[in-house]
Symmetry: C2
Subunit: 198 residues, 2 copies
Amino acid sequence: VSRIPFNVLLFDDFETLDAFGPAEIIGHASQYYELHYFSLSGGEIVSKQQVSVNTISLAEIATGVLLIPGGIGVRRLVTDTSYLETLKKLAEQAQFVLTVCTCSALLGKTGLLDGKAATSNKLAFDWVRETCPGVNWIRKARWVVDGKYYSSSGVSAGMDMTLGFLSDLHGDGLAQEVATRIEYLWNTDKTHDPFADT
Amino acid sequence: VSRIPFNVLLFDDFETLDAFGPAEIIGHASQYYELHYFSLSGGEIVSKQQVSVNTISLAEIATGVLLIPGGIGVRRLVTDTSYLETLKKLAEQAQFVLTVCTCSALLGKTGLLDGKAATSNKLAFDWVRETCPGVNWIRKARWVVDGKYYSSSGVSAGMDMTLGFLSDLHGDGLAQEVATRIEYLWNTDKTHDPFADT
């Protein structure tokens, strides 16, 4: 049985845990998914926390699940129309699209989330709302699912969302097993958001 | 004011979150620390979850805090006497040494933890205990501090430990602030270990 590509899209100044928290979890479901790390043109990408990662060019991507982190790098990309066009095509082709933190604003700028429910980082929520007024933003949510689009709150919430994604697709047993294996205290309730009022 | 080097030591098949969970947290305390990623000889290192990371050679390391992840790669290194000698020197010179997951067994093999308290991954605990019988292994602990040595339980526990480290050195206010910024539900009590009986 062939595994589904789980494609992580990186860009300079991405937030490290946004990408690698979910990747850690998906790596423990390797019976279903194979992880690949991409960037627009491939090559070296450096995270906000100075992790230098070697990536594959988007020219080589195969359809599967798309995960996109947030981070300060998003602020540049939301006005890059060429990048947004590429992202829109990618997201349309993907079976599922998972965004972490402020990346929901980046995806929102493609128009694909218009009229859909999504959440984002709590400290940047006003900026996110202004950037994409057409999205039905849910402030109090650890993560939100609308069709094939999963969006999470800030940074660490991406891990809760990814476990939720595994649970939705493969059953709660697998998600709980992965959480135990990585000794992660999973916030299983996507409406439980202790950071909504910060 | 110069910042303290926070040196993350990587090796092939390291567990991704063991390294990048703590790095994420330290990146939010950049007024105190600067992050660097090393490996024995420098160059490309690939994690168990297929993240390809560019690293600096240990020849260029400056004394500071040393963080070492665990992961399946540790199993090869515990019998590599040359690597253990290098690690011992590094750890002796470091101001603090933080180990995540099974890395406490790797550090234990240097003899530096003999007679000291430490913890490790719960699913590999028997292996860890057999590998380093001279260490005072604490099973029920999210993380353990003994002098300059911090050790955490499996994978995600490294984040709790790193916040604990920030709290010990710079006050609880900073640790809480970082946890909020990354929307992380910090398990602040190092004796609270829900995975001790797994």
